[in-house]
């Protein structure tokens, strides 16, 4: 299903973000080109390699960047006409290291709460609460400048959560974190997504696969694919691991001719994606036709990596 078709099928009422034919330009470079998607409530991953346009899309959603063309709606509001109302209901965790200099963690988070419209006493109380929630309770009286990279990621999440937004925009939230910290951050995101909607921008596939239900894959400024992760991964019986002996290149071309996509290095185990309307035995028929021996054949569990690879055409 294409972008606009998907948007129409879901309908604006059922989506937290609706992106309609959005283009963004940085000078001569088109960072986003005619992007359309409808992001449903829950956890949605924005996936794509570096430079795909993920951060640009988030900044456009926040109204930081002017659109060249198109329309953005968040939480039922037009980004262009109600930016303040949207920011009141949205929390943003930027990709880069960001804090208010000279403040302790609790003062910083409370200040962000006040800026977002909480009364002073409530902001302070809520700051303590979210700092405990993100695992910084013991370090909340330290200045943010003295925090490690992992702690800075957590406090960025805390400042985005302090005013209890309806939608959380997270830009590469696990950047620079150690494996344990990364797992904890993803568990937090998963937990938050049970209560409020989350849009998680990342180039790390396992992060998105763990934390999100839906995904939008961006590549070179356009939507490569999007939808529920489970649906995109497809039937597990349709992905196979295969190792062959013979002219592998010719075999891959022959498979493509009959509508079967594959990935993997030459001489290694390749993964093939058999469409639902084709039988798996077609693999053996093609192999036999081209004098290729099938040395290894096993049904595989499809991953988001497969979706990503197919979407990017690798």
């Amino acid at each position: 299903m294409t972008g606009p078709a998907f948007a129409t099928a879901l309908g604006e009422a059922g989506s937290v973000v609706t992106i309609t034919n959005v283009s963004v330009r940085y000078g001569p470079r088109l960072a986003l080109e005619d992007v359309s998607a409808a992001l449903p409530p829950g956890a949605v991953g924005l996936l794509g390699p570096n430079g795909a346009g993920k951060s640009t899309l988030i900044k456009a959603l926040l109204g930081f960047i002017a659109l060249e063309r198109g329309k953005l709606r968040m939480l039922g509001l037009d980004v262009r006409h109600a930016p303040l109302e949207i920011r009141r209901r949205v929390g943003y965790m930027p990709e880069t290291d960001a804090h208010i200099p000279g403040m302790t963690a609790v003062a910083f988070v409370a200040y962000c709460g006040e800026l977002a419209g909480l009364p002073r006493a409530d902001a302070m109380q809520r700051a303590h609460e979210v700092l405990y929630y993100v695992g910084l309770g013991e370090a909340r009286y330290r200045k943010v400048e003295t925090y490690s990279t992992g702690m800075k990621q957590r406090i960025k999440l805390a400042q985005a959560l302090v005013h209890d937004p309806d939608l959380l925009l997270l830009d590469e939230p696990t950047n620079g974190m150690d494996p344990k910290g990364r797992d904890e951050m993803l568990a937090l995101i998963r937990d938050i997504a049970d209560r409020i909607s989350v849009i998680l921008s990342s180039h790390v596939l396992p992060d998105v696969e763990f934390a999100c239900d839906h995904v939008v894959v961006l590549h070179k400024g356009v939507v490569a694919t999007h939808g529920p992760i489970a649906a995109l991964k497809g039937d597990s019986a349709r992905v196979f691991e295969l190792r062959v002996k013979g002219d592998e290149t010719q075999f891959v071309v022959a498979l493509r001719d009959v509508g079967i996509e594959s990935d993997g290095e030459s001489g290694d185990v390749m993964r093939v994606f058999v469409p639902a309307d084709r039988p798996a035995r077609l693999l053996f028929e093609v192999a036999a036709r081209h004098g290729v021996q099938v040395r290894h054949f096993r049904a595989s569990v499809p991953s988001l990596e497969d979706v990503f690879a197919r979407a990017l055409g690798d």
Partner: protein, 277 residues
């Protein structure tokens, strides 16, 4: 079922309406600065002259033989001129990092992801610096006037000098506005507070020195326009009834133009993201 839910909990309290968030920014900035002992010491030193002038007023008002200490419009004019030194130091100390430090810490995207506008942000930062500058210009000058009334026991001096209160107020406002706007614009140009401080010092001291040299060499009073501070003096002199070196209208146009440049710089530099064209 868990005994205590440690998951994310939603906020059920009230939320403030309205879009005026600049007082939050200003209050945070003022509190942060007041926590620094060195800054408090600077503010204290800035009030020393007030103490000296207060004694002078007391002596001039209460001792007949010390009538040469008796207050005049010039007393207040020279007091405000002398306070320019402290305006300079406080502007550098409290103003250089106002935007530069936020830029260095990538804080602008945090501010502007909240329900505040760029104008709220600029107004909050401006109010932070302006509050301290008003505290060393208008506040002590008006307190001196109040002391004069107190020492003399009458309002005769105030009523015989009707332009004094407006002159003190306008002079203070202009001093504060010029220093705050210039410093804020320069602070937005850099990610380093030191660089912003150096730029301000350059604009204030160097421009003044060049103006003096050129004026002495050529004898033309028009060179005063090179220095924003000295241009401002032209206006304040006129407010206190002193004949200015150049027409006041030209000085006003120059100051307004400088303010316009500052606003344009702030408008361009205060953004959540640096968009490279």
């Amino acid at each position: 079922m868990p005994i205590h839910d440690q998951g994310y909990r939603r906020y059920a309290g009230e939320r403030r309406g309205g879009d005026r968030r600049w007082p939050v920014i200003a209050r945070a900035g003022i509190i942060e600065r007041l926590r620094e002992r060195r800054f408090l010491a600077l503010m204290l030193v800035a009030w020393l002259l007030f103490a000296v002038r207060a004694v002078q007023l007391y002596v001039g008002t209460t001792i007949v033989r010390a009538s040469f200490f008796a207050p005049s419009e010039e007393t207040f004019h020279s007091f405000l001129n002398q306070q320019r030194l402290f305006v300079f130091f406080i502007t550098i100390y409290a103003g250089a990092g106002l935007i530069a430090s936020d830029r260095q810490a990538n804080a602008l995207q945090l501010y502007l992801s909240k329900p505040i506008t760029r104008h709220d942000y600029i107004a909050g930062k401006l109010a932070t610096l302006a509050a301290f500058l008003i505290a060393v210009t208008w506040v002590p000058a008006m307190m001196l006037l109040a002391l004069q009334v107190l020492f003399s026991g009458s309002l005769d001096f105030v009523s015989s000098h009707p332009r004094l209160v407006p002159a003190i107020t306008i002079t203070s406002v202009l001093q504060v506005a010029l220093a705050s706007m210039t410093m804020l614009a320069l602070s937005s140009l850099s990610r380093s507070r030191r660089f912003a401080a150096m730029l301000y010092a350059l604009v204030t001291i160097f421009a003044g020195a060049v103006e003096r040299v050129l004026q002495t060499a050529t004898g033309a009073a028009g060179w005063v326009l090179l220095s924003p501070q000295n241009t401002l003096v032209v206006i304040t002199d006129a407010l206190f009834g002193i004949e200015p070196e150049i027409p006041v209208t030209i000085a006003v146009i120059a100051i307004v133009a400088l303010m316009g440049v500052c606003i344009a710089v702030l408008e361009r530099r205060v953004r959540a993201v640096d968009v490279v064209a």
